[in-house]
Symmetry: C2
């Protein structure tokens, strides 16, 4: 099977649960909670969870789709709260929750999704012992995501952020939830601890690579390809791996912290290519995926394992 | 045993876990998460959980103290987020988290405690099936608390809030977490479903009565007794049961939405007593406790059952 058709199929499964449970709220808080969920999204974390469940126990009668939804709810909760903290106005082509409603409602909408994630996880059709381990993993993951977001915010005011710190931040902010998606999929489907551990680290690695690729897309992709504003990270002074590596090589991006013309962006990109920053950052992302792929080499051969490899590749080759 | 010594003893147990796990954070977010927890608190929800566990299964080897802590973490999370929404500056005699740090840190600190609650609940030493049911109950409860807070905020702009709506709001905002404390205590200790259901509703009733008593204390208790500002609810135009009942009887408290002298407060109290509002509100709280006590009459006689009855009584007789 092609990865794209698998992703479409699992997104449909998750979307149908989203519409069933969040599609027709009759109160204001319910609508605010559902707003971002209903605005679309690639549902990559749920897909990873489902894929890992099948990779360790294909054809088991266990229904882990509610758990897959739990991962999407967790992701959506973090986006709603992050948007408040970052003051972002638009996400997925719609106004952010705190913009369309207000800040108190957005805090509560995030909290509702957070709680619902644990509710759906306990609804998954899996042995209780697996659900307890999955709950504990999701809870720990949420603490890590908060720590990652806090690190990311604290970087804004600093000009001495090192590569190690950046990698730790990405591990927590983005890697942790992909790790949990993979680990929880394996746990619920009855995967043995060695498979679960391998899949957890695979998810962590490709999740970190996903974030680094996001930073590359922000810089390199023209708006007509990415659907986003180009070079917004440089404009906002974000301490991305690109920023950190450039600084190490004597090219400080801080003076470009303003709206740049597309000619200026091209010049910056040219310079970054010249001094090898772009290729090094791409290499870092590729290594994370490769290390992840080596971790799951112990899994038996299967269509799902093949899709996992494709997924790793997709995370660092996508341009939007 | 006297209720007070029981409460002191269980508060010590919970406090020692709080100090162990939250007492020495070396990072900023950890300190912000621990701030309100370390500022004290009566630990009433943990006490109710422990009491209910013992009431259904005294002397069981099951350690539910981590679950009791989970309830306190949940309570603390809701306070941190509520304080942001309500713009409150001081709580438990210390600056609120968003005042001492900033709003983004306070949102994250609340989220960290929320996640930690589920982590500690899954650590409780109880059968997995019980922990899954407890997790699901806590998750549903958190959704209800958010709904209750949202209702409470929406009341501020309205002048037609009815008694039924007020009671529904209090049931969600305050009753739900006491209900969950009692229900989870019973579930984890292996209480049969009939005991669990009875304790859940007992918790809900005394929790609602607790909130109504809080409103009475706000109006009636002089600052030197309550440690709080007197009649702040009237000043802020809060739609309490006192406000709603007074309005029904033709005494509108809205014009008093300003700083009142203590002579004015006494005059308002006198008028409210005269038209029977105070006694009716006290009666409502007492009925909630009495109904709860009738629910748990099916429990076998025990020292713990006696303490539960004392607790119900304490919730409506306390003056601070």
């Amino acid at each position: 099977m092609e990865l794209n058709s698998y992703l479409e199929q699992t997104a449909d499964q998750v979307d149908s649960l989203i519409y069933r449970y969040f599609g027709s709220s009759c109160d204001d808080l319910g609508r605010a909670s559902a707003h971002l969920l209903l605005a679309g999204g690639k549902r990559l974390r749920p897909a990873l969870l489902l894929l890992c469940a099948d990779a360790v126990n294909k054809g088991s009668a266990i229904d882990v789709v509610p758990a897959a939804l739990a991962l999407e709810l967790t992701h959506s909760f973090t986006l709603i709260h992050d948007d408040i903290m970052d003051g972002d106005l638009v996400r997925r082509g719609v106004p952010t929750v705190h913009t369309k409603w207000d800040e108190p409602t957005a805090i509560l909408a995030g909290d509702v999704l957070f709680a619902s994630a644990f509710e759906f996880l306990s609804l998954a059709d899996a042995p209780d012992s697996a659900k307890v381990r999955a709950t504990s993993m999701l809870a720990r993951t949420c603490v890590e995501i908060c720590e990652g977001q806090h690190m990311d915010m604290s970087f804004e005011a600093r000009d001495d952020v090192g590569e190690g710190e950046y990698m730790k931040m990405v591990e927590k902010k983005t890697g942790a939830l992909y790790a949990a998606a993979a680990g929880i999929g394996s746990i619920l489907a009855g995967g043995n601890p060695i498979y679960t551990d391998a899949l957890y680290h695979f998810g962590q690695g490709i999740g970190m690579a996903f974030q680094i690729q996001d930073d590359l897309i922000d810089l390199l992709a023209p708006p007509e390809v990415s659907g986003k504003d180009q070079a917004s990270d440089i404009r906002e002074g974000k301490k991305t791996l690109i920023h950190i590596k450039a600084k190490e090589k004597g090219f400080d991006l801080s003076p470009f912290q303003r709206r740049l013309s597309s000619a200026e962006i091209d010049e910056v990109i040219g310079r970054l290519r010249e001094i090898g920053v772009i290729s090094e950052v791409q290499e870092t992302a590729r290594n994370l995926v490769m290390t992840g792929i080596r971790r799951i080499s112990i899994l038996p051969q299967s269509e799902e394992k093949d899709l996992l490899l494709q997924m790793g590749d997709h995370f660092i080759s996508r341009s939007s």
